[in-house]
Assembly symmetry: C2
Homo-oligomer: 545 residues x 2
């Protein structure tokens, strides 16, 4: 693996920026490289910070960009004779071990639990979910399609490093549906609390927007903005866009479906629905927000998932670095030593061990790291202590696939303004008798806190009650609920980071930091990989003459 | 299987309509039942009749509807002692045999070829494609993911009868992606003939529409249409809808992606693209039409496909009715006899056989049927003779999955204004080395005629040339092209019917007609099933006292 010219140029550029204009400019440049700022990050579900889910924030203007560092940038054998102790066998840690081993580094991963993957996890029948104050047993039936991804559960098609590893490792992928027009949108404040089939909101919103804009254009209200040719063209376009009639009025559209289309078997094919009232559509901004969701860059089609569960990715990494992993190794101290780092850990029996290495690459979540005795600089320690995380959580149930058989819903997401926020229908095993429905996915905020603070049974009860406001038959169909509240999962204590990575993107002597929270894609596995590349890059720069 | 009240009521209603107001009203009522009119039909791809593909027509207003007839409507044992000869072992014919056998009818299917399924076909390495003037051998590598569906290739999620059979028969389904924001839109007349990544068109179109409408609202141009509250609400909504800035201007959006996003590895994450020029977007209506496509009722997400090829559905039907099928039985005469029908056919050796039955249920495409000697009424014969069909066709190539590895395109469709119209990327086998790309899907019209009139090699050459205008590397990557032009496929002679079914929805003495062309969903397998239900219903009415 040899360095190509662009790789050299990139490093030289970074170095010169650092020299010429100092740390702030360096950080700004790194941000543009996809390794620093959170400006464009939206978490795995466009996290809002309040109890009510909100749409993804529009990204702040970003500085002119460069490419992220990537494996091809590093000189072969740059790490020969050097050692690194990696803390955490999640996606960031295993990426670092896999790539640094290729460069000649001697890698040891200390993993606190008995399992690799971190938040990348798939729960199946027989598994146990341990939280800080509870333990749950998963009682799903044994079946390859009956699984629950409590952490990451979808992959953007442009998360190309993650997808590249899937390709390299032979992890089979299938489509994940974000936007299903047969799914439901439910707001307690709209349409008497009745859920509305998504296609009606899509069609009627486009219809009204097109009708109103066509009217304004025709009235000459936009003559300053549009040439005569533009006006002719935009009227033709709007007619298609909104499915307007010949007079450019929106009088309903087959795009909205037929009466009873939300239920299988009740179709009156050929009859148009009356459009929803514009004022009703507008009165509940929530309904509009849910239509924009799948337009966000990370959420656009095509999205993907591994066949058989997200942990197929973790297992593929693990099989390649397993020899380097020390399991059930709980880090108790992180120290600086001359020209190196020292990590002390305890095994499952409480015995203490010491690992000395040239470098430490720490992917432990800030929520956990802040309580581990260390020699970090004051500024690094302060950043770790103050790092904010979401309180996201999910619950899943086994159920007859009533959503498919009775409502023609195949995959995708229904939305509600209740705490549960979303119902996710499985994107696999279509047509089988039973499936796993994600009965709540709260991204954080008050809803996430409420969820985390309930008992496992309390979560089941409240989620079932709320789910019944979306699907009337819900309580009668779902069972075997099992939830994961990330703030209460040992060695995670949070779902994903939301603070600005700041100084944690810089080395603290021979200690380097990584993890999804230190990337432009917080809450995404691709972010974990980008953060690992950034940390590797800093190490490689040390070892490059 | 007993008749429920609604089934009885439905039949009584139909009969009374027929008695009271005659045939025209009866047809109109049947249309509303999903068995007659083509008003809302859009073919399997919103067929246009010109060489340039056009968006689906807005459906004509339809009369108040009723439910289609369905198996549960029919009395058990109504057919005991009665026989039916079914012509054609496509989806319509096999549906009829499967359902009528349940009712006690003795069913015989005469199938002209050695294969069941009709236009439902999947082509794999080793298969042969025979047209009226050519024969092609498929040289795809042997691999379960390397297949080509030249006929139906996607299933709407609300095609619930077809999906119900998949569930009943255990046909595994997976997602089919219609709308991939990473796919390309190419118009020879726009952007200097350079293909544009779909996400830019989506984001910029929404952005400009929202900006213009917000401006008009702010200027008071729509004060007659909007209350003060509406105005406040719609401005908030438009800001989200278009991803506008604080001043409600559209200045670009991360939804449009970053520079180089159409190519893997070239990403400048964090940098916004300049929006395309509004006048450019408007000047080429084609670009807008392609954004509306996936909003059509039949084309909305989630769409589905059988795992392993569309013929898994045909094979599932066939395995249940195979004992009733006479293969390689070419119908040479269709005659009326007292209280019955007589069909004469030839076997593969030219020997002639006669089948007498109480009823004949004919699913032979009108393009073929018109040349078979028969005793049809003058009006039935005229309808058959005049029935129009599209000249749709497809071509497929084996190729390295450059679209995934180099462009992050996973499934979905790219569009072009050239004859090839569409490129379909495979929705299965993601991440493997090779895949099958559909390199042309022309829905009919001049493009379809041009395709049909070329030699197999000519189709390969022209499709490769045109594909290279969408993907520059196309010619260097694709090979092993194989095309199917439905107008030249024996015993089909057309892709799907486009005429009004008219009198063919009524019995001609003891002869009944079915097939996708006699349904509200022409060009869809669900239409074939609906047409079979309609024909069965007519037969059952005869046998119901």
């Amino acid at each position: 693996m040899s360095s190509d010219k662009s790789g050299i140029a990139r490093r030289e550029f970074l170095t010169s920026v650092g020299r010429a204009v100092g740390g702030a400019a360096m950080l700004r440049t790194m941000a543009a490289m996809g390794i620093g700022t959170v400006a464009a990050a939206c978490g795995s579900s466009s996290a809002g910070s309040s109890g009510t889910p909100v749409a993804p924030p529009a990204p702040a203007p970003a500085p002119p960009g460069m490419q992220s560092p990537r494996p091809g940038d590093w000189d072969a054998n740059v790490g020969v004779g050097k050692s690194v102790v990696i803390l955490g066998a999640g996606i960031a840690g295993m990426t670092a071990a896999w790539e640094m081993a290729k460069l000649g580094y001697s890698c040891t991963i200390l993993e606190a639990t008995a399992r690799a993957g971190g938040r990348n996890r798939t729960i199946r029948g027989g598994d146990t979910v341990v939280e800080t104050d509870s333990t749950q047993a998963c009682t799903f039936d044994a079946d390859p399609d009956l699984y629950f991804n409590p952490g990451p559960a979808r992959i953007s098609h442009h998360h190309e490093f993650l997808l590249g590893y899937c390709r390299e490792f032979g992890v089979a992928l299938e489509t994940f549906v974000n936007d299903n027009h047969a799914a439901l949108i439910h707001s307690s404040n709209a349409f008497n609390g009745q859920a509305t089939i998504a296609r009606r909101l899509h069609a009627d919103t486009r219809g009204y927007i097109a009708e109103l804009l066509a009217l304004a254009v025709n009235q000459g209200a936009l003559d300053q903005e549009l040439t005569a040719t533009d006006k002719t063209n935009i009227l033709a376009m709007l007619q298609q866009y909104g499915d307007l009639d010949a007079a450019r009025n929106y009088v309903g559209s087959s795009r909205a479906g037929f009466p009873g289309q939300e239920d299988a078997g009740g179709r009156q094919r050929g009859e148009l629905l009356n459009p929803l009232q514009l004022s009703d559509l507008l009165a509940d901004t929530f309904l509009q927000l849910r239509q924009d969701f799948a337009h966000g860059l990370e959420q656009q089609p095509t999205m993907l998932q591994p066949v058989g569960g997200m942990d197929q990715i973790a297992l593929a990494f693990e099989s390649r670095v397993a020899a380097n992993i020390v399991y059930q190794a709980q880090v108790t101290e992180i120290r600086k030593v001359t020209d190196g780092a020292r990590v002390i850990y305890q095994d499952e029996f409480g015995a203490s061990f010491t690992v000395d290495a040239d470098y430490c690459l720490c992917t432990i979540p800030a929520t956990v790291l802040r309580d581990i005795p260390n020699d970090f600089s004051v500024n690094h320690q302060a950043a770790i202590t103050g790092f904010a995380y979401t309180s996201a959580g999910k619950i899943a149930f086994q159920s007859r696939r009533f959503w498919e058989a009775d409502h023609n819903i195949y995959g995708g997401i229904s939305w509600t303004d209740q705490d549960i926020t979303q119902l996710w229908y499985p994107n696999n095993g279509f047509g089988q008798t039973n499936g796993i429905i994600v009965g709540a996915y709260m991204f954080g905020g008050v809803a996430g806190d409420n969820f985390a603070n309930q008992t496992p049974q309390g979560r089941i009860t409240s989620s079932t009650t709320q789910g019944s406001n979306v699907h009337a038959e819900y309580a009668a169909e779902v069972s075997r609920g099992i939830g994961v509240a990330w703030p209460k999962v040992p060695f995670q204590l949070g779902a994903w980071g939301t603070s600005d990575p700041g100084i944690l993107l810089t080395a603290d002597d021979n200690i380097f930091f990584a993890g999804e929270h230190l990337s432009i894609l917080q809450g995404w596995q691709e972010g974990a990989i980008l953060s690992a590349y950034h940390a590797i890059d800093l190490v490689v720069q040390r070892d490059t003459p």
